[in-house]
Amino acid sequence: MASQLSFTGFAWKNLWRRRLRTLLTLFGITMGIGAFVALVGFSRAFEDEWMRLYTVAGTDIAVVEKNFINTSLDESLGPKIRAVPVVARAMPMIFNLIDLTPDVNALVYGWRADSYELDSLTMLSGRRFHDGQPEVMLGRYLADDLKKRTGDILPIQGKDFTVVGIFHGGTALEEGAVIMALDQMQQISSMQGKVTAFHVRLRPAPAGESYDHYVKRAQTEIEAAVPGIHADPAADRAANNQLVELAHSVAWGTSSIALLIGILGIANTMAMSVFERTREIGILRALGWKGRHVILLILTEATALGVAGGLLGIVTGLGMLRLLSNLPQTASVVSPSVSPLHLVESMIIAIASGLLAGAYPAWRGARLSPVEALRYE
């Protein structure tokens, strides 16, 4: 049986004739998609973890400063917030990302010892911290990274803290975090009398009122009772806090540049390929190929690069995420899993990159005059 030549088979042979160039182009788009999968996947997972942080603890609303960059509120606003009828609990808190060692940085929370948020944690060893004492509790991943156990000393911002307990939290953010008394956190952060936010747990919603509507109403009531503050529903706060926004910006910025380089790589390869194959395109036109067949051939080649780069990029991106989730510097904030939707999105971007990069070379190839192309040396 004679070997059959299909359209895609022909495109494949064209790509394979310049193996090195094809592989280098593939490397470029793989890196672009890999960066997108890893970085955007990381920033979204980070946002999801943040949301879980609120839902696991049962926080419905975060009260923060209006027009904040580094939000800071007076701790004395607590009673006013608690006085709003829909508010069940309002706990002041501070969080910050702090270098614990040259290699390890972690989220550090300052909570009050009576915070309801402590109830969502399971103590694996030791006990909870006490207010007014230089004591910390460590998430179990962080304790592993730092090789600390109950009773050890952990210096933070120049002050020694005793590790009084190791806990298991509901989210990766907590598993890699330090929790200490609010007053201690205020001292080391020079924020005496100030807090980052109040986490608010609402009373149960009245029968017949949807949760979303209830939270919206509570938000309005809190903002009316305490002027100058923002009462953000937990979902908004998870998406809009500075760390998540920074992660999103860095992820999109970096992966956009990487993708652009990948797209330019495909465009360059296809443009070179069309230029080198000018006479071959003339032959195809002489054999009756229409302009649209030439466009289809070149777009098939460019899209094949996009698809292959997309698949390899996904594998690379997932590998990078796995690596980041195992590094002590990033383990506390990186989850190795990404949503299937993100992978679909990555493939769509990869295919669109191929089509975009192939569009101009394809158009140029289709416009070649058959007789001029045949004369081309």
Binding site: S3, L5, F10, A286, L287, G288, W289, K290, G291
Partner: protein, 221 residues
């Protein structure tokens, strides 16, 4: 009286802002099933005329009628080239990345035929050209004569009504030239096709039933 298969009327073709005049008013008619040789010195315009007859290029003025309909307006050039015309070139113009049998199939990729049908037809044509054992060879593994036979098989792939050959023996030795000409003549007779050959070899030109001489862009006799 029925229309001729091809009717070229007052064909003028200029290049480079009319500084080069390849054809200066050529009228020629070719009937279905005819075997016509076009000869002339280099630069006389014979290849340009072939390109215009084959719909590879468009004239600066004048027109080519195919069965009474003008090419490029009433007859779509792409469709005309794919269904009605088979081209054979002096330099063979095979695609180097494709095997012989794939080179024949590539002409059929633009048609809506099934892959297995394309492969079977390509194999049958190569067998007819005496290349049964060379189907899976790449062009650089074939002799010049074999390459031209692959090119003839490719030109026949879509079962055209007209075969246009531009110096088909120009790159061949005398033995291979004779073999290729014999093949072309047999193909024409068996299929009842129209064959137009551009050549500068007088022997080939004179053996054709009709011989058109062209010089300085005009037909001589």
């Amino acid at each position: 009286m029925s229309n001729p298969l091809l009717d070229a009327r007052s064909l003028v073709k200029t290049y480079d802002n009319e500084r080069v005049q390849a054809l200066r008013g050529v009228d020629v008619t070719i009937d279905a099933g005819e075997y016509v040789a076009i000869s002339g010195p280099s630069g006389s315009g014979k290849s340009t005329l072939l390109h215009l007859l084959g719909g590879l290029d468009t004239p600066t003025s004048g027109e080519v009628l195919f069965r009474g309909s003008p090419l490029g307006t009433a007859v779509n050039l792409d469709g005309y080239r794919s269904r009605q015309v088979g081209f054979i070139f002096q330099a063979f113009h095979l695609l180097p990345t494709l095997r012989a049998v794939e080179n024949v199939q590539v002409a059929m990729l633009a048609m809506n035929s099934r892959a297995n049908h394309r492969a079977e037809r390509a194999a049958a044509l190569l067998e007819e050209m005496g290349l049964k054992d060379r189907m899976r060879h790449y062009p650089n593994e074939l002799s010049a004569g074999e390459r031209q036979r692959v090119a003839i098989a490719r030109a026949l792939a879509n079962d055209p009504t007209i075969l246009l050959a531009d110096e088909p023996t120009g790159n061949l030795d005398s033995m291979n030239s004779a073999h290729i000409m014999e093949l072309l003549c047999n193909v024409r007779l068996q299929r009842g096709m129209t064959l137009v050959i551009v050549t500068h070899e007088q022997g080939i030109a004179c053996s054709a039933p009709r011989h058109i001489r062209i010089r300085d862009g005009r037909i001589e006799a």
